[in-house]
Symmetry: C2
Subunit: 223 residues, 2 copies
């Protein structure tokens, strides 16, 4: 199997804004960091991991911890697509020494075994669908491919591969497909995860609620 380099785009400023009705800005930053670390734990067995940040890398404990664990923290002031495509092009200019796996930073249910299934899936490009037409992970094995996130990126990525004559694999997974963006998504973490993100939510006072039929969120918060 060819070596894999993992890239995780990460945003701390205004992180997870669609959760602002239930979490303060500081809490959302903590949540984003906990999810990032859970994602890193799931993928770090595959190869070198780089975290790609648009904003200056904060001089804070979680980032020092990541650096000390040997993960690259890269600052790139571009928007998501140009930032990722620049990284792809940098690999191309080096002669494509390793395949690239781009993983979103909000997949706290994901475990190493889920990612194993992904890397075993054949295809010049392997796409992992998220909820609502997104692309939660994408494994790029052909240097001609470029990404195009936002909107129905799953469809876009399938078409980009098609237009280049590349073979596309689709790896479907409950855990890789569960991105956390909105309040009802928190229940998935409380039910199906034992990682840092689940611990943090419990520390913040979140617990499962028996009354989903009424609140539909599936969780309550005691403060």
């Amino acid at each position: 199997m060819r070596p894999i380099k993992v890239v995780i785009p990460f945003k701390l400023d205004c992180a997870k804004s669609r959760l602002s009705s239930v979490l303060s800005s500081e809490e959302r930053e903590k949540l984003a960091l906990a999810m990032l670390e859970d994602v890193i734990d799931a993928v770090s067995g595959l190869g070198k991991v780089a975290v790609l940040m648009k904003d200056p890398i904060p001089d804070e404990a979680p980032f020092d911890r990541l650096k000390s664990r040997g993960f690259d923290l890269l600052e790139c002031p571009q928007e998501l697509d140009p930032a990722l495509n620049s990284m792809i092009e940098a690999e191309v200019s080096k002669g494509w020494p390793s395949d690239l796996l781009i993983a979103m930073a909000d997949l706290p249910l994901m475990s190493p075994s889920d990612v194993e299934g992904l890397v075993k899936t054949p295809g010049d490009v392997v796409i992992v669908p998220g909820r609502g037409g997104g692309t939660n992970l994408i494994l790029i094995r052909d240097p001609r491919f470029r990404v195009r996130y936002y909107g129905l990126s799953f469809i876009k990525h399938v078409r980009i591969a098609e237009d280049l004559g590349l073979s596309t694999g689709v790896y479907e997974s409950f855990r890789c497909g569960s991105d956390v963006d909105e309040p009802p998504d928190l229940v998935e973490v409380l039910i199906h995860s034992r990682g840092r993100t689940a611990e943090l939510l419990k520390d913040l006072g979140f617990a499962l609620s028996g009354k989903r039929e009424k609140t539909r969120a599936g969780w309550v918060r005691d403060r």
Copy 2:
């Protein structure tokens, strides 16, 4: 492998009420039926299929078609849990001739290969989580188990099995986990399915929208 009997609870009256902002009552009935037939196509290779209805079985073409394909249509005027537990008890009284698979009727992404993974999963009870803590399918291999739907039924079913000293398998699947309840769920069907439900949505004027970042639903309707 032991024989399996499949039970699909199905409701036509007030079907899919959480879609009433985007589909008329008649359209929702059509959608519910299309999803039921997609689910039947996914599970019918496993064994005998029974559709369990609370309301009188309508004298309409889709139901005649199901009967002519050899599926049982059972009328049971009880609520969901007592209706299903009565079916379990009926199997117990016959000496448990086959295991029972209870499948929800709103899983149009599911294919026979997804269900194959489920029946290969060990456990006295195998639970397939849905979104938000639900139970989308449950395979019951031990006659002592009883169901308890609504709310966070995934957790309830895990606990019921635990209390009985039964082993629990969890089968996680993107396609089995995608139940269709609310408007944003329709985009999953349009993207990931080629079945009857996807055809119906197209006939009703639904199409993918490139503008998910704005509407967040991922689809548009031309009428």
